[in-house]
Structure formats: C-alpha cells, structure tokens
Symmetry: C2
C-alpha cells in the first residue's frame, strides 16, 4: 500500500512539473477533462439519453480519441472519424442488404468475406505514403465501422437506426472536441511550426558564433557551451516538423495564417537548416581536430582566422535577420543586405585563401553554409 | 460514376504495387482480414454470442486497433489495452459504488468530477517522455474505460457483469491478435531494427567509396550516383530507429534475440552512424566545392589524393566488416584488423599532410569519420 501511495505521489509530482514547465500542457489535460464532463451530460439528461439510446458511449469514445493537443490534430482526427464512419456505414448497409436477401447458409460467408477483402485492401492502402500522412486514422475507423455494422447485422434487426444513432453521437463528440480545442486556449500546429522554425534559426546562429569564438580563442579543452550545443536539436527536427506541417494543413485560417498558407515550404526551410546544422557539426569537429593536427602555424593563420571570424559573424547575422523576418512574417531588406555583406566577406576570405591556402576546411564549410543560407533566405517569401 | 471507378482502380493499383514491392505488407493486410473474419465467428455462433451478450463488438474493436505491423507493436498495444481496461474498470467500479451510495442530487457531480480529475491528470502524464514512449496507448484506454464505466453506471444496472463481459471480449480480441501476429509470417521489430542498422552501415560504406571515386576522377559535373546518395536515408533514421527499439522491447525472445537483448545499444550505434553521415555530407560538399576553388594544383595534390583514396577505401572496409559482424551477430577479428589498417592509413596521410598541407578539409573530415568509426566498432559487442 505504501509503495502504491509513493508511486502515485511520484506520478503527481511529475505531472505537476510538466504543468510548471509548459502551462499549455496542463491546460490540455484540463480541456480533456472538461470535454468528458460535457459529454457525460448525455447520460444524466433523460431526454438526451433516450434520443440516442445506448449509443451515448460513442460520444465518450470519440472525445477520448479525437481530442488532440493541437487544433490541427483535432480537426484531422475529427473529420477523418466523421467521414470514415459515415462512408463505411453506407457501404456496410449496402452489403447488409445483399447479405440479408441471400440464402441463410451463405449469409455469414458473404459478411465475413466482404470484411476480409475490404479490411485487407484498406490495411494495405495504409502503406501508401500520402494515405499514411493524411488519412491513416480515417482508414482505421473505416475498417472498424465497416466490420461492426456488416457483422452485427447478422444479430441486430434495427441496423439502420443503430447506424444513424452512431453517426449522430460521433458527430456530437466531434463537435464538442472541435469547440473545446479551438475555443479554449487553442494550440495551433501552424504557429508551433512557425515558431520552431524561427527558434531553430536562432539556435543555428548562436552555434555558428560560439563555434567561431572557440576557434579564435583556441578554446579546445573546455566543455562546449550550451549555446554551441543548440544546433543539435536542429539535426533531429525532421520528424516533428513533418508531423506538425501535416496537421497544420487541416487548420482553419487563424491569425497571420491564411487559408492556403504554404506549410510545405516550412519543410524545405527545415531541410535547408538541417543541412546547415550538418555543416556546423562538421565545422565543430574540424575546429577541435585542427588544434590537434597543426598547433602552431601562427602567421598565415592569424589573417585567415580574422577572415573566418568576420564570415561567421555575418553568417550569424544573416540567420538572425532571417529568423526575425520569419517571426514577423515580413520580407525585410535587412536580410538581403546581410546576405550581400556575408558574400563580400566570403569573397574576401577566398582571396586570402588563394594566397595562403590554409584552414581550407573552415572556409569551404562556411562557403557551403553561406550558399545554404542564401537558399534559406530566398525561400522566405 | 466513371470518376469513382477510376479512383478506386487507381487505389487498387497502388495497393497492388505495395504488395509487389514488399510482400510482407500485403501479408499484413491479409492478416488483418483474417483476424476480423475469425472474430466475426462470435456473431455467427449462438452459444458464443449469448455468452458475451452485445459486448462482442469490443472484440472487433480490439482487433482493428491492436493488430499492428510488427509483433512488438501488437504486444505493446495488446498488453496496454488489456491492463489499462482491467485497472480502469476496477477503479471505476469503486467510484461507482461510492457514487451510488451518495445522495441522488450529488451523484452526477461525483461521477463527472472524478472523470474530470482523472482524465486531466492522466492526459498530462502523457507528456512525460517515459510514459509517452511506453504507455501512451495504455493511458488513452485507461481514460476511455474509466469514463465509460463511471458515467454509464448512472443508467446501466448490471454494471459489474457489463465490465466483466468487456474485459473478457477484449482479452479474446487481444489473444486473436497476438496469435495472428506472432504465428503467421511474423515481422519482428527487433529484427527490422537489426537489419536496418547493418544496411545503413553498408550504405555509408558505399557513400564513402563513391565520394572518394568522384574526388579522384574529378567527376564534378556528373550527377551523383545512387550509391553516393545512399547515406541520405541514414541522416533521417532517428525517428524510425527510436520507434522500432521502443517496440522491440515488448517482444518475446526469438531467433538470435534473447530476453533482454540490448535494443538501447542500437540507438547509440545509430547516433554514431548519423554523425558519420553528417561528415560524409560535409565531405561531399567539400569535394564538390574544392574542384571549383583551386582547379589545378597537380603535383602536391596527386600524392594526397592517393592517400585519401587509401583512407576512404579502408573506411569503407571497416564499415563493411562492421556491417557483416552485426549481420552475423559475432565479433570478428577482421573488424579490429580493418580498424588498425585504417588508422595506419590515416597516420600516413597525416604525415603527407605535414609536408604539403593542402586538401586539409578531406583529411580532417576523414579523421573525424575515422574516430567515429572507431567509436562505432567499439560499440558493437
């Protein structure tokens, strides 16, 4: 008993810490509780309960599985569930009609055979990338509803009214979910994606600066600072970016995000930033190993180190400007100017290089970074 | 009508192509169909149907949502569903007993209040990383079952027998799923992870070789070959590796995979390989831009190019040996020898470098690659 109390207090503490870290997550928990409390009113009100019969449980079921953290996720699941349920019910009622007209002996075989075929085809279709990204949940619900209606038609007589009640309760559940999700402290997937993109750019800028500072101060033994490590989360951002941009497509217009906001572009910008992060990763490795390989080649190196510092500072500035312009959703001329500045610095460094030809690595890397940055900035409308 | 027929034939064609690409996916579709056909027997057999009453639909519902592509996924969802349903039912019956003893006026408030609190706490706990990785589905099912039992207790009289029937049908559904998933052409998440790791190593080896061939033949204008592009899927392997190793934990021992097979180690090896891939990415960029920056410095370059080719060939050999030793699950001495060989080549190249000090970039990159490779090989038991 004591162990259980201890475990539950540890869990409560963890839940409390999550709420303190990001209040929106605690709010999401409260929203789920609220939606369930709202839907339970169906059981308490005699008239409502009689209206939908025993099907009230489908509203509860819908609320639990459809209410997602982001509005986009909720719309995606809600629409998929509603449409898949309705279309599967129509198909299943058609098959039910055929099965009930046929011989009693063959009836189970027709029902199970159709379930087998449709389930196999629908499950295989989930491996198609487009279906997987946009309709995965809908396909599951289609199989579920089809099997339930087609098979239970063998025992249940009032199948049409049962299907009607279910579609009705599911749409009630979906409406409650959409209202709670979009009206009470909404978390928009599009906005999350937008802010994550801007934040990642700033992290990259910080990492380029920190890396160059380490280089110029010959700071090899110290642990890398947290600023220098910031780019690491950019490396693995693909999965979360993909899912957010998939969900953001389902969202209605809100704030600065119009009806057909180009969420796909964020993926491209994200890919370019990941390329940048790979380069920063390699650059960090070079800076660390460069100190070990040729420790003292002072004269030629000093000049190039200055050029590198200039280039890195301008890289960081371009990234910061780009991040600012993404944040404010405007195309500022400051970005263009910063890019021009950076290119000038890179050319200067290349001229230095032609003379000295050392520290090639950092320059080539920065050159790559630069060209990627130009790509990034050209992709921001 | 014509458009609909066209759309469905396109879908069927896509499904067919998936089956042709990877027959196991088509088999998975057939397995889902089979499991549903098996479960529909409950509706056709009078004695079975009467035994579980109207609760037979829960078996169908369970089969549709629990039967996953991999055995690990199926065990994860099945166990989570069974345990969460049983524990939520026990808690809900306790609360139901309290609520039914209390004043009629307060009853709805006690029921909805408990649902609100438990749902809010459980939803928040889903943001804890460990809970998210291992029990996410279980928490959803806990909320679902608790709300259904606690709230419908207001209208349903035979609540205990209803809960019993549901737990019974859900366990029947889970057993059918586990049997179909593990006995008919099983797809083991552990094995998938294992093979993906070995395959990624080989792709990296191919990319290092191809990159170095491009370098030595000065092949800058041609499109990069498919071999040289192979490393790109290593860059984004994190998400699939994480999910596979999470699912693999749930799998029973099978083949060469024991009870506590160190699936977590695959994540570390995967991270090291991604570092390698970042380096290869940067190296490819360097090779391409190096040709543009200083096109003709033949004498010093030739010697280093040879050294580079040697190092790259040995890098690739180490990767291939490591991949082979992962595939056969043995520690071969060939890997150690290949690593020693590679280190010798790297040292040779560093000596050349001290003399000529050009092409620093490739060398520094390969040095990084080498050190990472040593890391990788040291992590394979």
């Amino acid at each position: 008993h004591g162990a259980r109390a201890w475990a539950s207090s540890v869990l409560l503490l963890a839940v409390w810490r999550i709420g303190a870290d990001d209040p929106r997550r605690a709010v999401h928990g409260l929203k789920v509780g609220l939606a369930l409390a709202l839907v339970s009113v169906f059981y308490y009100t005699r008239t409502l309960y009689d209206g939908v019969g025993g099907a009230a449980m489908w509203a509860v079921l819908t609320v639990v599985v459809v209410l997602e953290y982001t509005v986009g996720g909720c719309v995606y699941k809600g629409l998929n569930r509603a449409i898949a349920t309705a279309s599967a019910a129509v198909v299943a009622l058609g098959v039910h009609w055929i099965a009930s007209k046929s011989d009693d002996k063959f009836e189970p075989f027709i029902r199970s055979g159709s379930v087998f075929l449709l389930a196999a085809a629908a499950t295989s279709s989930r491996f198609i990338p487009t279906v997987k990204a946009r309709f995965d949940y809908g396909v599951t619900i289609f199989i579920l509803t089809y099997s339930l209606v087609a098979v239970s038609g063998y025992r249940v007589d009032a199948l049409v009214s049962m299907a009607e009640q279910r579609v009705c309760t599911i749409s009630i559940g979906v409406s409650i979910c959409l209202a709670v999700s979009a009206l009470i402290c909404p978390v928009w997937a599009g906005q999350e994606l937008h802010l994550a993109t801007a934040r990642n750019m700033e992290k990259l800028a910080g990492a380029v600066e920190a890396c160059e500072q380490d280089e110029s101060t010959n700071n090899k033994k110290q642990q890398p600072s947290s600023k220098a490590e910031g780019y690491k989360c950019v490396l693995n951002s693909k999965a979360s970016e993909d899912s957010l941009s998939n969900l953001a497509r389902w969202e209605p217009p809100h704030g600065g995000f119009g009806f057909r906001h180009p969420y796909g572009q964020y993926k491209n910008v994200g890919a370019a930033m990941r390329h940048c992060a790979y380069c920063v990763e390699a650059l960090t490795g070079c800076v660390r190993s460069a100190g070990e390989v040729h420790p003292a080649k002072a004269p030629g190196r000093r000049q190039l180190a200055n050029a590198c510092t200039r280039v890195a500072a301008r890289c960081a500035r371009v990234l910061r400007e780009a991040s600012g312009s993404v944040r404010s959703m405007t195309t500022s001329r400051a970005v263009d100017m910063a890019v021009a500045d950076m290119n000038a610095a890179v050319e200067e460094m290349q001229a230095d290089l032609a003379a000295t030809s050392a520290l090639m690595d950092a320059a080539a890397q920065l050159f790559t970074v630069t060209s990627l940055l130009i790509e990034v900035s050209s992709r921001i409308e």
